[in-house]
Amino acid sequence: MTEALWYTARGTGVVSLLLLTIVVVLGIGSRAGRPVFGLPRFAVSLVHRNASLMATVLIAIHVTTLLTDPYAHLKLLDLLVPFDAAYRAAWVGLGTTALDLVVAIVVTSLLRRRLGARTWRAVHWFAYAMWPIAWVHGIGSGTDRGSAWYLALAVAAATTVAAALIWRLGPTFATLGGRREPRSTPIATPNYRIPTPINRIPTPINRIPTPINRGGTQ
């Protein structure tokens, strides 16, 4: 029985990491403002969301099975407070941190209309911390550590994310297609002096002896 739990924990952990890799790469691609990876923009957005929700479910299973596994020595508090576990505290602590970040990012995303765009975006930036922490956790804490197939998967995932980041920071990314003015840039006026004659006229309020009237004033 405990073996089944252990395999479930390992399996869900590995697949979550792969799903999160897809999530991060699609998240990076969504900033391009044009279809990427052969998907129209709305599909990039939907797959990003669906993969993250699937990953969340798998992480929940991952954590639940570990809680029930006597060999893992995991207690409920370890889900929130990192580096306090009885077994492999450092690696598990990284997992805790990654879990907390995933929960924060997913919950704020589900509630983004209520929380407002600024809060949602601010928390979302932590995805760039969450993914590497989850990756290191995966390398360090599973008993697959050192086994060739897991290392190969982990390296492939890291390469994909690194490639996406290099693309993002490179010249060909062109957020929003580069067709347009950045916002909040004043126009570069050609050599036209805009006159403000108002500043030079005196502003007396003139009292005119003969009233200018029409339409029945006294």
């Binding site: 969504s30 403002g33 923009r41 709305f42 957005s45 929003l176 297609g177 067709r179």
Partner: protein, 67 residues
């Protein structure tokens, strides 16, 4: 039912034009352009209501609202 575009938030990401091609096109700079000529409040026919809801949900800048 109208689709309201909050122009101060819209960044021309274009997901709405993909999801509602019948009523939205893209202008020269990628911003949503109502085919009907409307500016900020675009009328949505009842059969497209579900698609409009999806567009509102997917907009990465939360710039859309149905009302």
């Amino acid at each position: 039912m109208n689709l309201h575009i909050n122009w101060t938030a819209c960044d021309g990401r274009g997901l709405c034009a993909e999801l509602l091609p019948e009523i939205l096109a893209e202008d020269d700079w990628g911003y949503p352009l109502a085919r009907s000529g409307a500016g900020a409040d675009v009328p949505v026919p009842p059969e497209l209501r579900q698609h409009a809801r999806r567009a509102v949900d997917r907009c990465p800048r939360l710039a859309l609202r149905l009302g």
